[in-house]
């Protein structure tokens, strides 16, 4: 199989250099999109007929929640690839992603809680959506904790990768929880198929924030990935030149 591009991604020096070059191409657009999304969401979008200006929390809550799922999926897929193909770089992607995903999950839970209090009348309920999202946070923390339990990076990679893969079932559960079960949290507003449940003046800033947050994760991931890749190499010769640069 002539999967040269794929095999090159397995090369730590290549990934290290590529990450350094790509980072600004993700970071700057991320910043621009997030600023645009803030202006759109906090200012240009109209208030909601029943939630007034309170619904504007959606412009930070929904992207955080989306990222919590997207990052976990990336982490679990990378961990699976690391297990199957024995690729150090894949494990590095998973390790680099975990803290970012955990922090987005935390943000989703806190912003959701702040939104729930005035609208639902409560900061927290053990409904299917909230409960499964909290479980996701525990999975992230468990992954990070499991890693730190091993001195040997490769053992840490493999053990935590199994946990990451096992936890992947939680992602569709979180997404479909509001469809499969009676819940306090409402059904999704934006789905791949199906009409948006809000007018363009409201969903355009939301889409902008979603893309902006995703690019932000990409940029942060690339910086962390370089750190992770370096820590998995011994005294390899390529490091000499890469680190002195």
């Amino acid at each position: 199989m002539a999967w040269t591009w794929f095999h090159r991604l397995a090369s730590p020096p290549h990934v290290y250099r590529l990450s350094a070059r790509l980072t600004p191409w993700l970071a700057w657009p991320a910043a621009l999109l997030i600023v645009a999304g803030l202006i759109g969401g906090l200012w240009l979008a109209p208030p909601d007929y029943q939630q007034g200006d309170g619904y504007r929390i959606i412009y930070v809550h929904a992207p955080s929640a989306w990222m919590s799922l997207f990052v976990y999926t990336t982490m679990a897929v990378a961990a699976g690839i690391g297990l199957i193909w024995r690729m150090k770089v894949a494990h590095a992607v998973a390790a680099a992603s975990a803290p970012v995903g955990a922090s987005f999950t935390f943000a989703a839970l806190v912003t959701g809680s702040l939104w729930g209090k005035p609208m639902w009348g409560t900061y927290w309920q053990w409904d299917p959506r909230l409960t499964s999202e909290l479980i996701l946070l525990f999975l992230y923390l468990g992954y990070m904790g499991l890693r730190s339990a091993f001195d040997d990076v490769q053992r840490a990679d493999r053990a935590s990768a199994v946990l990451a893969v096992v936890g992947l079932v939680n992602v569709p559960i979180i997404h479909y929880s509001v469809v499969w079960w009676n819940s306090l949290h409402q059904a999704p507003s934006l789905m791949y198929l199906g009409k948006p449940t809000m007018p363009p003046s409201m969903y355009v800033p939301l889409l902008i924030m979603l893309v902006g947050f995703t690019l932000f994760y990409g940029a942060v991931l690339l910086v962390r990935l370089r750190g992770e890749v370096l820590s998995r190499e011994r005294a390899a010769s390529w490091i000499r030149e890469a680190v002195r640069a």
Binding site: G52, G54, V110, G227, A235
Partner: protein
């Protein structure tokens, strides 16, 4: 401007939500840079100690 800050009365919920989100993003940037700096320092240290150490 005052209406903007007031967020229709929901300001105690809207602004803390935005603050938490941006704190998370700032922390992510800080931690990432710190990780990279630490890893570079570690890698340099490994190089100067000597290559045959196992």
């Amino acid at each position: 401007m005052r209406h903007f800050l007031d967020m229709g009365g929901y300001w105690p919920f809207v602004w803390p939500a935005y603050a938490v989100t941006f704190a998370v993003m700032a922390l992510n940037i800080i931690w990432a840079r710190r990780l990279l700096k630490r890893s570079r320092k570690e890698a340099l240290r490994r190089l100067t100690i000597g290559g045959t150490e196992k």
